[in-house]
C-alpha cells in the first residue's frame, strides 16, 4: 500500500481568499469549528504566577523568622521593643478596600472617582511606609536594634524590609497607572490591566497579614 504524503502548506503560498479562514488540520471537517475556544487571559495567569513566585520568596524569610524565634543570644528582644503596628496595618488593609472602590468606578466609567480612590489608595500605602519608617527609626536609634545586632534584628529587618520593598513596587505601579490615566492613555479595554495591579496590591496586603501574625503576634513574646 502506498502512502501518499499530503504536504499541508502553512506558507505564504496560501491564496489570499483562503488565508483568513482557520484551516482544519484533519481531512474531515471539524464540528467544533463553530464552538468557543476560550483560554484563560494571559494577564491573569501571569499575575497569578508572579504572586506564586513572590509567595515562595516570602516563605523562606518567614521560615527563617519562625525558626529563629527565641534563639537570639543577646537583646534587644521582641517583647522589649515591638509594639503592635495598629495604625500602619489599618492604613494598609484599608487601602485594599479603597483600591476595590476605585476599580468599581473604573468599571462604571466614572473616571474622576476612579482617580480619587486610586490616589487615596496610594496615600494610604505611603502612610504605611512612613509608619514603618518611624518604627524603624525608633528601633535603630532608641533600642539599638540593627540588622547585625542579633538573629531577631536580622530576620525582622529582612522580612519587614522585603515586604516594604514590595509596597514600594506596588506604589510605583499605582503611580504609573495614575499618570497614564491623567494623560488619557487608560482606555476601557485596559480594565483587566488595572485589575491585575490591584491583585498585586491585595497580595502585598495579604503578605502583611502573615508578617504581622508571625512578627507581632507569634514571635512577640520571645
Amino acid at each position: 500500500m502506498e502512502i501518499r504524503i499530503i504536504k499541508f502548506e502553512f506558507t505564504s503560498q496560501i491564496p489570499t481568499n483562503v488565508r483568513n479562514q482557520s484551516r482544519s488540520v484533519s481531512s474531515q471537517s471539524l464540528t467544533s469549528t463553530e464552538s468557543e475556544w476560550k483560554l484563560p487571559s494571559p494577564r491573569v495567569v501571569g499575575m497569578i504566577l508572579v504572586i506564586l513566585t513572590e509567595t515562595a520568596l516570602f516563605t523562606i524569610f518567614v521560615v527563617a523568622y519562625l525558626y529563629y524565634i527565641g534563639k537570639s543570644i543577646s537583646g534587644p528582644y521582641p517583647h522589649e521593643v515591638l509594639e503592635l503596628p495598629i495604625l500602619g496595618t489599618v492604613m494598609l488593609l484599608s487601602s485594599s478596600v479603597t483600591i476595590v472602590i476605585a476599580e468599581q468606578n473604573l468599571h462604571k466609567g466614572v473616571n474622576s472617582l476612579f482617580n480619587l480612590w486610586w490616589v487615596i489608595t496610594a496615600l494610604l500605602g505611603i502612610g504605611f511606609l512612613i509608619y514603618t519608617g518611624v518604627e524603624w527609626h525608633k528601633l535603630i536609634y532608641e533600642d539599638h536594634l540593627t540588622i547585625s545586632t542579633n538573629l531577631f534584628g536580622s530576620t525582622f529587618y529582612s522580612l519587614v524590609g522585603l515586604h516594604a520593598s514590595h509596597v514600594v513596587v506596588g506604589l510605583i505601579l499605582i503611580l504609573m497607572i495614575l499618570i497614564l490615566n491623567l494623560t488619557g492613555c487608560v482606555k476601557h479595554y485596559h480594565h483587566e490591566h488595572v485589575i491585575m495591579i490591584s491583585w498585586y496590591w491585595h497580595f502585598v496586603d495579604a503578605v502583611w497579614i502573615v508578617v504581622f501574625t508571625v512578627v507581632y503576634v507569634i514571635g512577640a513574646k520571645s
Binding site: 488565508r19 484551516r23 482544519s24 483560554l39 494571559p42 542579633n150
Partner: protein
C-alpha cells in the same frame, strides 16, 4: 524512502533564509539579534550562549582533570583549583544547562502549540539578556583582582557555597559576592522566563489543542517552568540573606550569634533539588518527542507519562535533604527524606518503561537524534540506579561527598541531560536552520564523546568507593586512586574532541548542510508543518488540531489519531 517531503540537494531554489539574514548586512544581522523579541531568535541566542559557556566551563573541567591526573599534581595551585571547581559547577548549571533548556523551550513551544510567539515577547528578551549579562558579570571575577583584602578573584567555596565558609570572615574579598549576585540576577531571568512560558502554554494554544493533546514536550515544559517559578525564589532568598550577612553583618548563618549554618543548606537544597529536575525534565521532553518519531509509533501511554511527570514535580519538592544525610539530621529526618527519594524513582522508572514500550514493535531508525536518545536511556538508567543507591541513607553515609556522588550527578547531567540536549540539536537544527547537520561528523561527535564520557565517569564510581573525597586539589600516591584518576582525565580529552566535532558541525552545516525542507524526519507535531526555518510569524494561518499528532492525521487520513483517542 518516505522520510519526509522536501529534502533536496543544496543549490536548488529552496534555499532557506538563515535567521537574521533578512537585513543583509553584518551590522544588520547583529542589530536584529540584539533587538529581537522573536522567540525563535531568542531561543537560538539562549542555546548559543549556553554552548559558549559550555566550552568555557569545559576548559575548566580539562584543567581540573589535568591537575588530578597524577598524585601531587602541580597544574593548578590549591586556590586556583577551588575556584575552578566552583566556577565549573556554577557555570555549567546556571549558564549552560539553564539557558539551553530555556532556549529549547522558547524555540519549540510556540511552534508546537500553534502560536505566533510567546505570551510576553519583550519580557522574553529581558529574561535572555539578564541571563547573558549575569554570566559575563560572573566571569569578571577572574579579573576582579584581589579586592580590598587580598583574596582571590573567582568564587571558590563550591557551587553550593556552604555557610559559613562563605561568610566575610572566611571568604574575604568580593569573590563570593560575584557568585551570589550573578546567580541572583540570572535567577530573576529564569523566573520571568518561566512565567512567560507557563502563560504561553496555558493561554496561547491553538484551537482544538486541549491540555491532553499537547505534545509531551509542551507538558514537560509546563511542569518544568512551574518548578522554576516556585523553587528558584528559595535560592534567591538564601543569597539575599548571604549578601546581607556579608555586607551588613546580618547573622542568618552565624553560629556565634545563635544562627545555623545548616539552615543555608536547607534553603539551598530546597532550590537545588528541584533544580536538577528543572534540568532533566526538558531532556525527558526531547526523548519523548524523538523516540516515537524514530520508532514510528506514538508514545506509549501518554496519560501515564503526563501523570508521572506531574508526580515527579510534586515529589521533587520533598526530597531536598537527601543532600544533607551526613550533616547531623535526626533519624526521622533521614528516614523521611530517604523514603521520599526512593519514592521518586517510581514515576521516573515508569517513564523509562514507557519509552522502551514505544520502541517495542516499532521500526527504529538509527538516525543521530535516536542514537543520542538510546545512549540517554542507557546512561540515565545507570544514573538513576546510582541515585537509588545514594538514596538509601546508610549507603550515602559512606559515599556522600565522595567521587561516587560526582560520578552519579555527572551521569545524570552529562550522560542524561547533555545527551538529551545533543538529541535536541540534531533533531531540530534542521527546523531552525533549514539544513541538516552532517551525519558523519555527528557520528564522530557521538562516539568520541561517549567513549570519553565513560572513560571519565565510570572510574569515578570506583574512586569514590575506594574513599576519594570530592573537591580535593590533589591526593597522595598509595591511596589506590591513581589509575582511576588517570583514566578519568584521558576521557575528558575525548569529550573535548567530540565537542569540537559538534561545534564544527553546527557552524559548518548552517551554510553547507543538506537542505532539510519542512519535515525531514517525517514527524507529527506542528513545528514540522511550517517552513524550515519558520517565517517570523510562524504559521500563515493558525492551525486547528483534533489529536495529539496533527501531521499524522494529515498524512494518514484513513487512520487518523482522533478516531482512537
Amino acid at each position: 524512502m518516505p522520510n519526509g517531503t522536501t529534502i533536496t540537494e543544496s543549490g536548488t531554489e529552496l534555499q532557506p533564509a538563515r535567521p537574521g539574514e533578512e537585513r543583509g548586512t553584518a551590522t544588520g544581522w547583529l542589530q536584529d539579534l540584539v533587538f529581537t523579541v522573536d522567540h525563535k531568535k531568542l531561543g537560538m541566542l539562549y542555546v548559543g550562549t549556553g554552548l559558549f559557556f559550555f566550552v568555557l566551563a569545559g576548559i575548566m573541567a580539562l584543567l581540573i582533570r589535568a591537575q588530578l591526573a597524577f598524585p601531587n599534581g602541580h597544574v593548578t595551585s590549591p586556590q586556583e583549583f577551588n575556584s575552578l571547581i566552583t566556577m565549573h559547577g556554577t557555570v555549567m548549571i546556571f549558564w549552560v544547562a539553564m539557558p539551553i533548556v530555556f532556549g529549547m523551550i522558547n524555540y519549540l513551544v510556540p511552534l508546537m502549540i500553534g502560536a505566533r510567539d510567546m505570551a510576553f515577547p519583550r519580557l522574553n528578551a529581558f529574561s535572555f539578556w539578564l541571563t547573558f549579562f549575569s554570566g559575563f558579570f560572573l566571569f569578571l571575577s577572574f579579573v576582579a583582582g584581589p579586592g580590598l583584602y587580598g583574596a582571590s578573584g573567582a568564587p571558590d567555596a563550591g557551587w553550593f557555597a556552604i555557610a559559613p565558609l562563605t561568610s566575610s570572615a572566611f571568604s574575604k574579598g568580593p569573590s563570593i559576592d560575584y557568585w551570589s549576585l550573578s546567580v541572583l540576577i540570572s535567577g530573576i531571568g529564569s523566573v520571568t522566563g518561566g512565567i512567560n512560558i507557563m502563560v504561553t502554554i496555558i493561554c496561547f494554544r491553538t484551537r482544538g489543542m486541549t491540555l491532553h493533546r499537547m505534545p509531551l514536550f509542551v507538558w514537560l515544559s509546563l511542569v518544568t517552568m512551574f518548578l522554576v517559578v516556585v523553587f528558584l525564589p528559595p535560592l534567591s532568598a538564601a543569597q539575599i540573606m548571604l549578601t546581607l550577612e556579608r555586607f551588613l553583618g546580618a547573622t542568618f548563618f552565624d553560629a556565634q550569634a545563635g544562627g545555623s549554618a545548616i539552615l543555608w543548606q536547607h534553603f539551598f537544597w530546597i532550590f537545588g533539588h528541584p533544580e536538577v529536575y528543572i534540568l532533566v525534565l526538558p531532556a525527558f521532553a526531547v526523548i519523548s518527542e524523538v523516540v516515537p518519531v524514530f520508532s514510528r509509533k506514538p508514545i506509549f501511554g501518554y496519560p501515564m507519562m503526563v501523570a508521572a511527570t506531574v508526580l515527579i514535580g510534586f515529589i521533587s519538592a520533598g526530597v531536598w535533604a537527601h543532600h544533607m544525610f551526613t550533616v547531623g539530621l535526626n533519624s526521622f529526618g533521614v528516614t523521611f527524606f530517604a523514603m521520599a527519594t526512593l519514592a521518586i524513582s517510581v514515576p521516573t522508572g515508569i517513564k523509562m518503561f514507557n519509552w522502551l514500550a514505544t520502541m517495542y514493535g516499532g521500526k527504529i531508525r538509527l538516525e543521530l537524534p535516536m542514537i543520542f536518545a538510546i545512549a540517554f536511556l542507557f546512561q540515565f538508567l545507570i544514573a538513576g540506579l546510582t541515585g537509588i543507591m545514594l538514596g538509601v541513607a546508610p549507603f550515602d553515609w559512606q559515599l556522600n561527598d565522595s567521587y561516587f556522588v560526582i560520578a552519579h550527578f555527572h551521569y545524570v547531567i552529562v550522560g542524561g541531560i547533555l545527551y538529551g540536549i545533543f538529541g535536541f540539536l540534531y533533531y531540530w537544527y534542521p527546523k531552525a536552520f533549514g539544513r541538516m547537520l552532517d551525519k558523519k561528523l555527528g557520528l564522530w561527535h557521538f562516539w568520541l564523546f561517549t567513549i570519553g564520557f565513560h572513560l571519565t565517569f565510570d572510574p569515578q564510581h570506583f574512586a569514590g568507593v575506594l574513599g576519594m573525597p570530592r573537591r580535593i586539589y590533589t591526593y597522595h600516591p598509595g591511596r589506590g586512586w591513581e589509575l582511576w584518576n588517570l583514566i578519568s582525565t584521558i576521557g575528558a580529552f575525548f569529550q573535548a574532541a567530540g565537542t569540537i566535532c559538534l561545534v564544527v558541525n553546527l557552524l559548518w552545516s548552517a551554510r553547507k548542510g543538506k537542505i532539510a525542507g519542512d519535515d525531514p524526519w517525517d514527524a507529527w507535531t506542528l513545528e514540522w508543518a511550517t517552513t524550515s526555518p519558520p517565517p517570523d510569524y510562524n504559521f500563515e494561518t493558525l492551525p486547528e488540531v483534533r489529536s495529539r499528532r496533527p501531521l499524522w492525521d494529515l498524512k494518514h487520513p484513513e487512520d487518523p489519531d482522533w478516531k482512537f483517542e
